[in-house]
């Protein structure tokens, strides 16, 4: 069974008014369970919008989305997915452990069970010693790890990530990519990952979905064929470079306009 099924989806903002925006047109995408899929493209191509449609934070104007065999709304209510954003979005007034407990608290878990799960998650992101710290006492990379731990706290099948490493420096970023992959290997999660970075997309993904703006649509889907487990050595691998070249060419096909700041060769 596929984890996420997107059929003929369109999204129009401000329909009928003078500032109408066709954010997405005719998007078809099927994501298998356990797959890691990246969405890449210049600003305004609708990749974040697509992620929010899957998360049911937005409603599609047309088409169907099925998440875990249910409507996105039901999937959201059942907490079938975890989500992480570019800004870690941790709450300053809560300790690290309490931040991770937040989604469990909202589900009505009892205190002991919450704490146990939070510590388990902190173990997973290697921050077990920082449970009682406050987020503002941690570095940016550590905060982002806490945000990922929070997204994983409900043990979701599906992880939705919107440029989660976008605010990190290059070194931390590569380290976090490795951490994310090892977490996914252990949890078997399906991931939809929005990024601006070509190497990041290729390093992490089974498939890279290349999108273009005005109107937002999928222009190409690049399969990444890297054999075996991905490690730091993968970054010197010929298949890795082949993937980067393929994605770059697909992006070059994308109409370049004044607003291409979004693409960065990181």
């Amino acid at each position: 069974m596929s984890a996420v099924e997107i059929r003929n989806v369109g999204k129009i903002f401000n329909a009928g008014s003078s500032n109408q925006v066709d954010a997405l047109v005719d998007v078809d995408l099927s994501i298998a369970s356990g797959e890691f899929v990246s969405l890449i493209g210049p600003s305004g191509c609708g990749k974040s919008t697509l992620l929010r449609l899957v998360a049911n934070l937005l409603e599609p104007t047309s088409g169907d989305i099925v998440v875990n065999g249910k409507s996105p709304k039901q999937a959201r209510l059942d907490q079938d997915y975890g989500m992480a954003f570019q800004q870690s979005g941790l709450f300053d007034w809560r300790t690290v452990a309490k931040n991770i407990e937040l989604p469990l608290e909202l589900k009505g878990w009892d205190k002991a069970k919450r704490r146990e799960r939070a510590l388990e998650m902190l173990e997973l992101v290697k921050l077990a010693d920082f449970a009682e710290h406050f987020p503002w006492q941690l570095s940016g990379g550590m905060q982002q790890r806490v945000a990922i731990a929070r997204a994983l706290a409900v043990h979701p099948q599906l992880l939705l990530m919107d440029e989660p490493f976008g605010a990190l420096d290059e070194m931390t970023r590569e380290h976090m990519q490795g951490e994310l992959l090892s977490i996914c290997r252990r949890t078997g999660s399906t991931v939809i990952f929005v990024t601006h970075s070509i190497p990041e997309a290729v390093y992490l993904s089974n498939r890279v979905v290349v999108m273009s703006p005005r109107p937002g649509r999928i222009t190409k889907i690049v399969d990444v064929n890297i054999e075996g487990e991905r490690t730091d050595a993968t970054r010197d691998n010929a298949a890795f470079f082949a993937g980067i070249t393929a994605v770059r060419e697909a992006l070059r096909g994308v109409e370049m306009t004044a607003h291409v700041r979004g693409i960065e060769d990181r």
Partner: protein, 302 residues
């Protein structure tokens, strides 16, 4: 690691607080010195600058010596009475403090409820906010007799509206405004990403209110509470005067001011009592501030 980080922080915080106390005492002394210097060199019956009557009179009636004001505290309030003035002033300040505290609680509760209502419904914000602003332009003196007469007619299940409650309500009338406005700003302050996060957890509006909006509003509400505390004091003192309520510091100021020609130092004892009352209120709120902001990043507390 934590110990080595927090200990110097505590130390410097203590030093900062100590310096603040020293500066406060020094500023009091400075004011006293300026007072006495002007009294020594200023014109006894006032003076003119370029034909404008600007310089205040410095005679003993208008500006009694600081030591006369202070020594007045030890004298009895009235000739032949056994109660020293400091007891009377302190009792009056305590009486008014309790009224102001009640007004502060009334105003803060009302302000927070209005802020929640306005944060919840955009329509409510558009409908209520202009009236809130207008309400603060109504002079308290005009309102005081109204509140007293309404209160006098109220009787709920045998419970009679006490007279002091009118003064507290008037204090609350001034205090609610900063809390409502600051609260509204605070409740709507969380970034879109945080609200989205709560939505992704399928959190209800009430859950979002208590887990996200209230905690986010704290840095906005704390300064609003400081304003509300001083407003409550002003409201209560003015209400005491304009409703003729006995026992508080406002009443003492009026009574002592009548004796200003024969006993000029006396009114200042009550004025300082009112200042003490204001300090007590702001101290009370500062404690709340320290408690509520204890786990926040240090940049936010400044």
């Amino acid at each position: 690691m934590t110990a080595t980080v927090t200990v110097p922080q505590r130390n410097s915080a203590l030093k900062r607080r100590l310096r603040r106390v020293v500066l406060f005492v020094a500023s009091l002394l400075l004011v006293a010195v300026l007072w006495e210097v002007y009294k020594a060199i200023g014109p006894a019956d006032g003076g003119k600058i370029f034909g404008w009557k600007l310089l205040p009179r410095s005679n003993d009636n208008a500006m009694p010596h600081i030591w006369e004001m202070l020594s007045r505290y030890a004298d009895p309030e009235l000739r032949g009475s056994s109660r020293e003035i400091w007891r009377v002033v302190l009792a009056g300040a305590w009486f008014s403090f309790r009224l102001a505290l009640a007004g502060f609680v009334i105003g803060t509760t009302l302000g927070l409820l209005l802020a929640i209502l306005m944060a919840r419904f955009k329509v409510a914000e558009r409908g209520i906010l202009p009236y809130l602003v207008v309400s603060q332009t109504v002079p308290l003196i005009a309102l005081a007799p109204l509140v007293v007469s309404w209160g006098g007619k109220l009787e709920i299940f045998g419970w009679e509206w006490p007279r002091w409650l009118s003064a507290s309500v008037l204090g609350g009338f001034l205090a609610f405004f900063p809390v409502a406005v600051g609260g509204l700003r605070g409740l709507t302050s969380p970034p879109a990403a945080s609200v989205e996060l709560m939505n992704s957890y399928a959190a209800s509006w009430t859950q979002t209110l208590f887990k996200l909006r209230f905690p986010s509003a704290v840095p906005f509400i704390v300064p609003a509470l400081k304003l509300a505390a001083s407003s409550a004091v002003i409201g209560v003192v003015v209400a005491e005067i304009s409703t003729g309520l006995k026992g508080g510091i406002g009443r003492l100021i009026i009574e002592y001011a009548r004796e200003a020609t024969s006993d000029p130092a006396k009114v200042f004892t009550a004025v300082f009592g009112a200042a003490l009352l204001g300090l007590a209120m702001s101290g009370f709120v500062t404690l709340a501030d320290i408690f509520m902001m204890r786990n926040r990043p240090k940049e936010a507390t400044t």
